[in-house]
């Protein structure tokens, strides 16, 4: 530490060199596993036979294609996309009116709703699944028989960031002022909601939906423990059968999620909306 400080004082260069070395190290840590995965998924040369001269041979997307056209994977994809859709709809139906009414009419409710953002940290899927098996499995077995019984639980874990995003959106447009202005000009409540507030909330609704989609597409614990076949559980089964195709598909999904989420987060930051994915 002392050595670091003296070099820092004698000149800027060594210290900033150290900082960049640290950043490069971090970047390598995040890139190398993905590169290893891409190599395994897209190059048909086993690691044992891989030598420097073979580095550029045997690359193909056939594994990815096999995985994408596998009937079980297609079914899993369809299920997961429907789960995404239903979880988003359920969340918006429950939370949009709640966020609006809380912001414009009952601001004293806000602390209670903010406490809600801690829920998924206290009761994570791995804990709630035991409770669900203990209650719904005995009382309403038909409910858990359907794969769509996952929807309410996925909506539950998506609630914190959905509420945060909607709330941030309402704060950013000064919803209460807009509400009072429209009121004083004689607009009815429904006019205000549908013609003033909702159009202004589109950005935060899109953000919340994208975060929900990423969460649902990646959720494994709850689906697997309730023996439901969604995209992540099918991916694990498929990977055991066809390691190369499984990995190629997994990196495809990860890149897709990362790019999609990254674009959403960036465009929102540019609009001044601070989206908290951590929910805390």
């Amino acid at each position: 530490m002392d050595e670091f400080v003296t070099t820092a004082r004698s000149g800027v260069r060594p210290a900033s060199l150290l900082k960049w070395a640290f950043l490069v190290g971090i970047a390598l840590y995040f890139i190398v596993p993905m590169a290893a995965m891409a190599r395994f998924g897209f190059q048909s040369v086993p690691t044992a036979l891989l030598t420097p001269d073979k580095l550029f041979t045997g690359w193909s997307v056939s594994g990815l294609w096999d995985a994408m056209t596998d009937p079980r994977m297609l079914a899993g994809m369809k299920t997961s996309l429907l789960l995404v859709l239903f979880a988003i709809l359920l969340n918006l139906v429950l939370l949009v009116p709640l966020a609006i009414v809380t912001e414009v009419r009952n601001p004293h409710l806000r602390p209670y709703l903010t406490a809600l953002t801690l829920l998924p940290w206290v009761i994570p899927p791995i804990a709630l699944v035991v409770g669900v098996a203990a209650t719904f499995r005995a009382t309403v077995p038909w409910f858990l028989a359907s794969v769509f019984s996952l929807v309410p639980f996925y909506a539950l874990w998506a609630m914190p960031f959905t509420y945060r995003a909607l709330d941030a959106g309402l704060q950013a447009i000064n919803a209460r002022t807009l509400y009072e202005a429209s009121r004083s000009m004689g607009a009815s409540l429904w006019t205000i909601i549908f013609r003033v507030l909702l159009p202004n909330m589109r950005a935060s609704m899109v953000a919340a939906s994208c975060l929900t989609a990423a969460m649902v597409l990646g959720e494994f614990a709850f689906a697997s423990l309730l023996l439901k076949n969604t995209l992540p559980t099918e991916m694990v089964i498929y990977q055991a059968k066809n390691p190369r195709g499984g990995l190629a598909f997994a990196i495809f999904i990860m890149v897709l999620t990362a790019v999609g989420l990254g674009l959403v987060v960036r465009s929102l930051r540019r609009r001044g909306l601070n989206i908290q994915t951590t929910g805390i």
Partner: protein, 286 residues
């Protein structure tokens, strides 16, 4: 609270009731049932299930989970704080801060099946790093760095822990005002003295809070460990075992008791996190 029930607030009630009913039915009800069943094994009030959940293999599970979550929280926490400090101190490439910000928001969510696959390709028995190191005469397995080894799993967890710590720490690090550092320098304090008397004491509460959050995050991670090593001794895997193989009577009570301990652990960590956050807010918000 009474204001909710006033007449003009009927609208509030109309939107609040479906929401409360939803959370009550799908979250509160199953959780309360588990907690009640944990303290009433075989239908009678008692702590036998809770005690059994902390003995034998289940004790090993808790110890293993706490060690893995703890080490990944400490290492990820330190690297995350350093990353936040370095990024704050470098203003030159303008893209650096926003890019890392977006990337962290994404990467902190990347834990799961895909991440486990990536590390199997890296440090699995057929992994590329395993091969590179063995060509150099180093057997990574000797150091526990395999897809099923302890340090290998810590390495995997860091992939989502470091970005999460960065996200949690950035507000606190940005709250360290340049004017404080300048004031310290004018009064003759060396950079080391500034960090010892101002910087570090201010960052300690948020760093500890952040590390606790990482701990909770790692403790409940399931997909990654399930893919890497389904026969491991971690608590989430033991819950799976009890849930899917509960043929012996009495085993259900054990699952409820383990979940009750997990919830207690998470709840107390979160109370501590909130306390630490209050301390940070005191000086970042002003």
């Amino acid at each position: 609270m009474r204001a909710i029930f006033r007449r003009e607030n009927r609208l509030g009630l109309v939107v609040l009731i479906p929401f409360a009913a939803f959370v009550g039915l799908f979250l509160v009800y199953p959780t309360v049932v588990v907690l009640l069943k944990a303290v009433t094994p075989h239908g009678e009030l008692g702590t036998s299930a809770l005690m059994r959940a902390l003995s034998g293999t289940y004790r090993t599970g808790f110890i293993q989970s706490i060690l893995l979550s703890g080490w990944s929280a400490i290492i990820g926490g330190v690297i995350g704080v350093l990353l936040a400090l370095v990024v704050k101190s470098l203003s030159r490439p303008k893209w650096l801060h926003p890019t890392l910000d977006s990337w962290s928001a994404v990467a902190s969510q990347l834990g799961g099946v895909g991440l486990a696959f990536a590390f199997i390709a890296l440090i699995g028995t057929q992994g590329i790093m395993t091969k590179v190191f063995s060509n150099m005469g180093i057997n990574l397995a000797d150091y526990g760095i395999t897809a099923v080894g302890f340090w290998g799993q810590v390495l995997v967890y860091l992939y989502f822990q470091i970005p999460l710590m960065f996200l949690v720490m950035m507000p606190a690090v940005n709250g360290l005002k340049t004017s404080w550092r300048e004031a310290a320098a004018i009064m003759g304090a060396s950079p080391a003295r500034y960090w010892r008397s101002v910087g570090i004491p201010l960052l300690v509460p948020s760093t500890l809070g952040g590390m606790l959050l990482l701990f909770v995050n790692a403790f409940t991670a399931y997909a990654t460990v399930y893919v890497l090593n389904p026969s491991g001794a971690l608590v989430p895997l033991q819950i799976r075992y009890l849930l899917q193989g509960n043929v012996i009577t009495g085993e259900e009570d054990l699952a409820y008791a383990i979940v009750a301990w997990v919830i207690l652990l998470l709840l107390s960590s979160l109370v501590l996190i909130t306390v630490m956050q209050r301390r940070t807010l005191r000086w970042t918000s002003s």
